[in-house]
């Protein structure tokens, strides 16, 4: 992205300087506990609390929600979130813990909720005081998202919700959930409605959260069971039956194809987070220079070198794609690049982590609980976790359908 941040508008330039100054004096410093690779891997409450404090300080300083209206807790600026994001990256800050809130809930609430709900919920969402989770996936509704069975039944001025959600990351920490569910069994797509529902305050009163354990041994995502949860009608987003349309707002922002840029910090290095730095080819080079395959330095193996370079090319191409996506005269279809991002990003991380096995040789057998594990065993953790994302939010097979159908105009596969 390094290139795209040149030639700012006056407002952007002024704001950039402000961010730089603020970050110079308000970087949270090193965390007291190990911070995982991303918010979805959060399982240690201490890590969460520390990250929430960081998000709040950034929000108070105006670096979160910059482009949102002032009346809903935003900064009221124009195209400035991207500036804040760039500077936070450059300052190597920690990430924000409320990733689902910022990336999916906020834009959906902004575009589809009534104003009183916006002003009630968005400020604490931006500050990270409220963590949000996403109630989309169900046992029978994975890639086939519209196959929702969770049912909301109207009772006067409120709704009674029953059903079963799975793979809900962060539910064990969440105050609120964005919920897609069914209000009409007779119509697959037009029978869906969209709500924001309380979780923490409703536990034991219609909401049960059960942790699921990943193949990595980590917790982090959950089953959420609704039994007669009562929700006020004001928490419905958009019309009854418009749930699918609202969900598209959520998903387009998740795919980085939405109108609003998601507030995103990050860039903190491995040493600083006491955790992994497994997201980049340069980390792989580092690993290769310090690992042995069959007694020889892995970084000298021509096949390993070629694998790493392939990843560096993909990384640079991804950056330059994002840069090009902002130049109208250089893109023929507005969704062509944005709709690629989820696919490319998740497969990039999977392929990157897989190369670490070849680099580490027999030491690739070692895990986080072994002091001799190269890179602390984080590469193996990252490889296994990478499947969480190639599967989730519309498996990548579905992403390819979407690209073929929406961008290339090929016939629907279903």
């Amino acid at each position: 992205m390094a290139d795209a941040d040149r030639k700012d508008t006056p407002e952007q330039a002024e704001f950039r300087t402000y961010c730089q100054d603020w970050l110079a004096h308000n970087h949270p410093g090193k965390p007291p506990v190990r911070i995982p690779l991303g918010a979805l891997e959060l399982s240690d409450p201490k890590a969460l609390t520390w990250l929430q404090a960081w998000q709040k300080s950034a929000f108070d300083a105006g670096l979160v929600g910059c482009d949102y209206p002032v009346e809903f807790g935003g900064g009221g600026r124009k195209n400035c979130q991207t500036i804040a994001n760039q500077e936070m990256q450059r300052a190597k800050t920690p990430f924000f813990p409320n990733i689902i809130g910022l990336g999916m809930a906020a834009p959906t609430v902004l575009f589809h909720a009534q104003d009183s709900v916006k002003s009630d919920l968005l400020p604490r969402l931006f500050s990270g005081e409220d963590i949000w989770c996403q109630g989309f996936s169900e046992p029978g509704a994975g890639s086939d998202l519209a196959n929702q069975q969770t049912f909301a039944e109207r009772r006067g001025d409120s709704w009674v919700i029953n059903g079963h959600k799975v793979w809900t990351s962060l539910a064990h920490f969440a105050s609120w959930m964005i919920l897609l569910c069914r209000t009409d069994k007779s119509d697959k797509y037009n029978g869906l409605s969209y709500f924001v529902v309380p979780i923490q305050t409703a536990i034991g009163k219609g909401v049960t959260v059960r942790p699921l354990i990943k193949m990595t041994g980590e917790t982090g995502f959950n089953e959420v069971i609704f039994e007669d949860l009562v929700v006020e009608d004001r928490y419905r987003l958009d019309a009854v039956g418009a749930g699918w349309k609202v969900a598209m707002t959520t998903l387009s922002h998740e795919r980085g194809a939405g109108e609003l840029v998601t507030p995103a910090a990050g860039g903190m290095t491995q040493e600083d987070t006491k955790g992994a730095n497994t997201g980049s080819p340069s980390a792989l080079i580092e690993l290769a220079k310090n690992s042995y395959r069959n007694g020889k330095t892995a970084a000298d193996d021509p096949l390993i070198r070629d694998e790493i370079v392939k990843m560096m090319i993909r990384q640079e191409a991804f950056r330059q794609n994002q840069r090009r996506a902002l130049v109208p005269q250089l893109i023929d279809h507005p969704m062509r690049i944005p709709l690629q991002n989820k696919l490319i990003g998740t497969e990039f991380n999977q392929d990157l982590a897989e190369i670490a096995y070849a680099i580490e040789g027999p030491a690739s057998s070692l895990y986080l609980n072994d002091d001799n594990a190269p890179g602390g065993g984080e590469w193996q953790l990252a490889y296994m976790n990478s499947f969480g994302v190639t599967i989730a939010a519309g498996a990548n097979e579905v992403q390819r359908n979407i690209l073929a159908e929406r961008v290339l105009g090929m016939p629907k596969s279903k």
Binding site: S137, G140, G142, S143, D144, N147, V166, W167, L212, I213, K214, M215, T216, G217, E218, Y292, R293, N294, G295, K296, D301, L303, I304, Q350, E354, Y357, A358, G361, P362, A363, S364, S365, L366, Y367, L368, N369, D370, N372, A373, G377, Q380, M384, F387, G388, T390, I391, A392, A395, E397, R400, N401, S413, K414
Partner: protein, 384 residues
């Protein structure tokens, strides 16, 4: 060109042994049973455990599995390598947690030593003593000449790394260097001066450790200075048995994923309807069949050429088998998790047992790139 049987040497005995192994595992060692046994604690930072079912070990000893490839002269059954391949394939298909493969590997090395001490160790194996090899250095070298252990008048000092099933084994076959070259030594796992440090590994069906030796009295099992060559002669068999384990595990992953995608409905159709699911699974099948045929042919080549008259062919086929099986293992595991969707990503789904075993198998005794590089030097000639 050495004469080889059309059937790779899978005669009645070998086929019967394989079928009985398949039955044994379906009776006593189903995935749910193993999962309850080795995956009962998912905490990453749990104490490093070594969980296995010793009664099962006693039973397979009684069935003669450990004796199968021990020469009759040493009190074994003297079956061909394809017998061990058949057992390893079934063990892989069951993700069997046991020192069986390690004990086979020790067997293959001891068989090459041709000494009274080696035969004594083989006799122990035949009677059910689990053993393993301690022949790898900290830099993970698979070359028989590389060891961090030194020997000085009969006493071992130094550390061996990446020792498989170390805490299940009662006997260790250690490679150690002296002025005479690399020798091979037998050490009881509980001998004085043996310090075993368990590794925290991902594979739940194995244990692994690094073992330091401080002035440990050892019995030399290979003729002085002949250890390196004995190891070199045993490596193809070791590679082939690992390939067979991967083939079995790969077949389990394929069949289980096919069953899941045939029943899982999305978009009003079974997942298996979609070519994005079905064609990659066909590719997994192609990889498995290649690996299987190469493993059988390599084993058969070893069995057919006891004097190593056509050793180059044996080396070639063994490298090919391990290279192909290793790539297959990674691919089959990755597709199994992907096509199982969310459920395949959970601890409760058995897929991760096989995924983790395969990722361990694929690097053990060299991954695909390593074996292909050796093949390039053999088949194309060293690059200048």
């Amino acid at each position: 060109m050495i004469e080889q049987p059309k059937n790779f040497g899978f005669g009645e005995d070998e086929t019967m042994l394989r079928d009985s192994a398949a039955k044994f595992f379906s009776d006593h060692c189903t995935p749910d049973k193993i999962h309850r046994q080795v995956a009962n604690n998912s905490n990453i930072h749990r104490n490093i455990e070594c969980i296995w079912d010793k009664t099962l070990w006693q039973q397979i000893t009684d069935l003669g599995w450990t004796a199968a490839c021990v020469p009759e002269a040493a009190g074994g059954i003297g079956m061909p390598l394809v017998a061990a391949v058949a057992l390893a394939e079934e063990a892989g298909r069951a993700a069997f947690p046991s020192p069986l493969i390690s004990t086979f590997n020790a067997t293959f090395v001891l068989r090459e030593c041709q000494t009274a001490n080696a035969n004594a160790a083989l006799a122990e194996i035949a009677s059910g003593t689990p053993m393993t090899l301690a022949i790898t250095n900290q830099r993970g070298s698979w070359e028989p000449s590389d060891t961090d252990v030194l020997v000085d008048n009969g006493q071992l000092s130094g550390t061996a790394w990446f020792v498989q099933d170390a805490r299940k084994a009662e006997g260790l076959i250690v490679s150690a260097r002296s002025a005479a070259g690399v020798g091979l030594y037998y050490v009881a796992a509980n001998a004085a001066g043996v310090l075993m440090t368990a590794d925290g590994i991902i594979d739940l069906t194995r244990d692994q450790a690094h073992i330091s030796f401080s002035g440990v009295n050892a019995i030399e099992v290979a003729a002085p200075g002949q250890g390196e060559i004995a190891l070199a002669h045993a490596l193809p068999a070791i590679q082939v048995v690992l390939a067979a384990d991967m083939v079995g595990a790969g077949e389990w992953l394929l069949q289980t994923t096919v069953e899941y995608t045939n029943t899982r409905i999305q978009f009003d159709r079974p997942l298996g309807f979609f070519q994005a699911v079905k064609h990659p699974l066909v590719n997994v099948m192609l990889d498995i069949d290649r690996a299987k045929s190469l493993a059988y042919s390599a084993a058969c080549a070893i069995d057919s050429d006891p004097e190593r008259k056509d050793w180059a062919t044996t080396l070639k086929l063994a490298h090919m088998a391990k290279a192909n099986a290793s790539d297959m293992a990674v691919f089959a595991s990755s597709r199994a998790v992907q096509f199982h969707g969310g459920i395949g990503f959970t601890w409760e789904c058995y897929v991760h047992l096989f995924f983790k075993r395969q990722m361990h198998n694929q690097m053990l005794f060299g991954d695909a790139k390593y074996h292909r590089a050796l093949l390039a030097d053999m088949l194309i000639g060293k690059a200048v």
